[in-house]
């Protein structure tokens, strides 16, 4: 078998398949199962990433038809630049997480069998890889749902906890409804492709070839956008996300937040740019609006959270929003035939997808490490961990810096590119868009600033200060596989941040294929060190220089100031001269976000109550206070609950049909036949 991306990929799939089939036989040896299983997934995902990288670098397309599925509708596989890019995103993070899992899953030994975890983990990765590879509607949906089902079981891994069951259920329902919507959208396109004389219409090739009538195209797009948004957790379809991601095992949450959401992004890009191809500007603005909504609301929710993993989950909503913003901009630009701008925006979005995969994976792994060490998810009971978890804390900090989009780390690059795309909107020739899109930029700025606040909170409350709440004994640094996995993710965060020009050059074929323009030339026209999206007069950013500059100045100052041996004396806190400071005087997660809660509170259902115990004493001398805070999602009451209530009402009504007496049933038949006879 010749050595090509295709063969490498098939190797990785065979590995995963082998693992899935053989795992049940290793049931007895759990320790061995973990070691072998996750090493296999690591290798497999690394292979996939490599294949993807090769495809994109080589800029070639591989096609393959597997003799599976229906004889007239076999599975079509297509490995093109876009697929290659997402293969890298998925494979890379899956590789890091798999290595991390070798250490992390050991934590479950003795508590519960991990066989199902290993099996569904492998299925999950395979499903994601297949989603980006599939080239016909049937295979796409099959792999899409395999992905959903396996994650459902992964979320249910600790199935005795009711909140897991609730979350998993919610997740699966939303995912499935979304899947049906996607199915219908494909149905439209396939139907118009061939009119269902046979099965040919289901391949993406056939869909690409057909030009849809605008009405149908809009229907297809809206259905697809709905379906994919449900998966991506776009507000208001996000309700499942902050439930499901926190309760899953952390390595799984890392993958779910890091890459599973990206498959939805992939779907949108694939359907809009590749399959449908030409579209009016309002599609783009729709995507843009939902992106902004998710970005702002999502991060606001994140700031409010007190559960570390919930905070991370909500910030995923925000990042998905940012990606959608860029994609929306790209759609608007390309609908006006501004190809280079479209290319810039699209690459910004995809770049952000890659970055988000890295740092969100890193952060979830870090959260997993914290849970692994302290068995605690609630930030109110954490704090001061930087002293016990030196590695984890540094790596988590890197994640926080990246996600708060601060230079020189990767988060900033993609967001900077997005801003540049925004700043180019005046070149649109529609006045109203000219006026409105800049406001979007302001919202984006708001969301990124809030992100900084959220992650100052996340890191500060969790790792700094003193341990809040009951201190369960000594905490140990996590084991090596976990550290290695996190470290690799952290390094990739830095690399992606410092060497953006290379990444963009590498990603350029995608832009060329989907928007018909390239930006690599202009982007690195000023030298590899300077990222100049359009022209260096327009705007430029040099991550390496910034990185080096900061480093140099810091070192120089440090050295200069330490020429004189300055003694450092440790002393108790001064704190404006307060006496006996206790740990309970620290700012808590709730109090940190208080100002923002006051300012943006109207967006949430905030319930605060202060109880004085024991009540009835003189109000001036309360024994103790208990403060309870509940920040709830308004969308639940607005969107989900009504639907649920309505369907139960309907089902009660329907129940009336069947009220037991046989005569009534006979009347039904009687009436039915009379009516039908009348109509004939």
């Amino acid at each position: 078998m010749n050595f090509s991306p295709g063969s490498i990929l098939s190797a990785s799939f065979l590995l995963l398949l082998f693992l899935v089939l053989s795992a049940p036989f290793l049931r007895a040896k759990q320790r061995l199962l973990i070691a072998i299983g996750f090493s296999i997934t690591a290798v497999a995902s690394l292979l996939a990433a490599f294949a993807g990288f090769w495809t994109l670098a080589g800029g070639v397309t591989y096609q393959l038809v597997l003799p599976l599925g229906l004889p007239d509708l076999p599975f079509h596989i297509r490995l093109d630049s876009l697929a290659g890019f997402f293969l890298v995103v998925i494979g890379l993070l899956a590789f890091f997480v798999s290595i991390y899992s070798i250490g992390y899953v050991k934590g479950f030994l003795g508590q519960r069998p991990v066989t199902s975890l290993v099996v569904f983990y492998a299925l999950f990765i395979a499903g994601m890889l297949l989603v980006v590879l599939s080239d016909d509607a049937f295979l796409f949906l099959v792999s899409w749902e395999i992905m959903a089902a396996s994650t459902y079981f992964l979320v249910l891994f600790e199935d005795e906890r009711p909140e897991n069951r609730r979350a998993a259920f919610l997740y699966l329902v939303v995912a499935h409804v979304g899947a049906i919507a996607i199915l219908l959208s494909f149905g439209i396109m396939a139907g118009l492709a061939t009119g269902f004389s046979g099965f040919e219409g289901y391949t993406f090739d056939a869909m690409r070839k057909t030009v849809l009538p605008s009405g149908w195209a809009a229907a297809a797009f809206l259905l697809a956008f709905f379906g994919f948004s449900a998966k991506a957790g776009v507000i208001p379809l996000h309700a499942w996300l902050p439930e499901a991601h926190p309760v899953a095992p952390s390595n799984v949450s890392a993958l779910m937040s890091g890459v599973m959401l990206k498959t939805a992004i992939y779907g949108i890009v694939r359907v809009v740019f590749d399959i449908i191809g030409s579209f009016p500007w309002w599609w783009g603005s729709l995507v843009l609006v939902f992106g902004l909504l998710s970005a702002v609301i999502g991060i606001l929710f994140a700031v409010m959270q007190q559960d570390l993993k919930k905070l991370l989950a909500y910030s995923s909503v925000k990042n998905i929003g940012i990606i959608l913003i860029s994609i929306g901009l790209a759609m608007i630009f390309s609908s006006y035939q501004l190809k280079p701008l479209a290319a810039l925006a699209l690459l910004a979005g995809l770049y952000h997808a890659l970055n988000h995969a890295m740092y969100k994976g890193l952060l979830f792994m870090g959260a997993g490490a914290v849970i692994h060490a302290t068995h605690e998810r609630n930030m109110e009971n954490l704090g001061g961990l930087i002293r016990f978890l030196p590695w984890t804390s540094v790596l988590f900090l890197i994640g926080c810096i990246s996600i708060s989009s601060l230079p020189p780390f990767n988060g900033f690059v993609s967001e900077w590119l997005t801003f540049q795309a925004f700043l180019l909107s005046p070149s649109l020739n529609t006045p109203i868009l000219k006026l409105l899109i800049p406001l979007g930029a302001a919202l984006l700025a708001l969301s990124s600033a809030l992100a900084a606040a959220a992650f100052v909170k996340a890191f500060g409350i969790t790792f700094l200060g003193h341990r809040r709440g009951p201190d369960q004994g000594r905490v140990h640094e996590v084991n090596w596989p976990m550290r290695i996995g996190m470290t690799m993710a952290a390094i990739s965060c830095l690399m992606l941040g410092v060497l953006p020009t290379y990444v963009i050059k590498w990603m350029d074929p995608i832009a060329e294929k989907l928007t018909g323009a390239t930006i690599a030339h202009s982007a690195s026209g000023f030298g590899w060190m300077w990222l100049t999206p359009i022209a260096h007069e327009r705007a430029s950013y040099s991550a390496p220089v910034a990185f080096a500059g900061i480093l140099v100045v810091v070192i120089v100052t440090y050295v200069l100031l330490h020429t004189r041996p300055g003694a450092i004396r440790r002393a108790p806190l001064w704190d404006c001269g307060f006496e006996k400071i206790t740990d309970r005087m620290q700012y808590t997660a709730a109090s940190f976000s208080m100002p923002l809660r006051r300012i943006f509170g109207f967006l949430f259902a905030v319930h605060e109550e202060v109880k004085q115990a024991p009540p009835g004493r003189h109000p001036a001398f309360p024994e103790s206070f208990t403060y309870q805070l509940r920040v709830r999602d308004r969308f639940w009451g607005w969107l989900y609950k009504p639907v649920i209530d309505a369907s139960f009402w309907v089902s009660r009504m329907v129940g009336r049909l069947q009220q037991g007496r046989i005569q009534v049933y006979l009347i039904y038949s009687f009436v039915t036949i009379i009516v039908l006879l009348l109509f004939v």
Partner: protein, 221 residues
């Protein structure tokens, strides 16, 4: 006997069948209903025989014989025995508002007449006009099952429907192929045994044959 006369007699019998159907719909006493049912069977078998004579298709004699034995002798006998065994002869059941039922019945007759009109145009048989009656009988039987609350009467209604079907078969098409006729008859016989068993079960478990007690399985709450 000329075909004309045969047709005359046949339509007369059809009228009788319809009449019995209505009578059953109105009748309260079980035994009386049973007798009416037997009469209906008798008319049916006679008409079948006549049609057979007219159409010179001899398998109709067989089916007429079948009808006679089944609908006039066997089934009424079985039911009679059951009624006596289960001591439900005396039970007078409430029939929902006879006049209304009658009106609905009339409406049904008109309706089925209207429905079968096109067929009548097409058919060349002397018996074609009786198809409406057949359909009406079926409908009336169904109506009877709807209005009655007693297991036995429901069964009788069911059998009346079957009568209507037989009548339709003979009058519309000079009878179905013999295989079918026999098979149908066999099915009815089996059915008879089954509901015989059922009466016992129902009676022993609910100590009455009032089907309104059997409304436990339902969705609404």
């Amino acid at each position: 006997m000329s075909t004309q006369l045969a047709a005359q007699i046949n339509s007369l019998l059809a009228a009788f069948i319809l009449l019995t159907a209505f009578a059953m719909l109105a009748q309260r006493k079980k035994l009386a209903i049973l007798h009416l049912f037997a009469w209906q069977g008798l008319f049916l078998s006679v008409s079948t025989a006549i049609v057979g004579f007219v159409a010179k298709s001899h398998h109709l004699y067989i089916s007429s014989l079948l009808t006679l034995t089944l609908k006039v002798v066997v089934l009424p006998y079985i039911l009679h025995v059951l009624i006596r065994k289960l001591k439900i002869r005396k039970e007078i059941e409430a029939v929902v508002n006879v006049p209304t039922t009658m009106l609905i019945g009339i409406a049904l007759v008109i309706f089925s007449y209207h429905l079968t009109a096109p067929i009548r145009e097409l058919s060349t048989l002397v018996t074609r006009s009786t198809l409406a009656v057949a359909l009406a009988t079926v409908m009336l039987g169904l109506l009877m099952m709807i209005t009655r609350r007693h297991a036995v009467t429901q069964i009788i209604g069911f059998l009346a429907m079957e009568n209507g079907l037989f009548f339709a078969a003979t009058s519309a098409t000079y009878g179905m192929p013999l295989v079918v006729e026999l098979g149908v008859a066999l099915d009815i016989l089996i059915a008879a045994f089954i509901f015989g068993i059922f009466f016992f079960h129902i009676n022993t478990t609910f100590d009455s044959l009032d089907v309104d007690q059997m409304a436990r399985l339902k969705e609404e709450d």
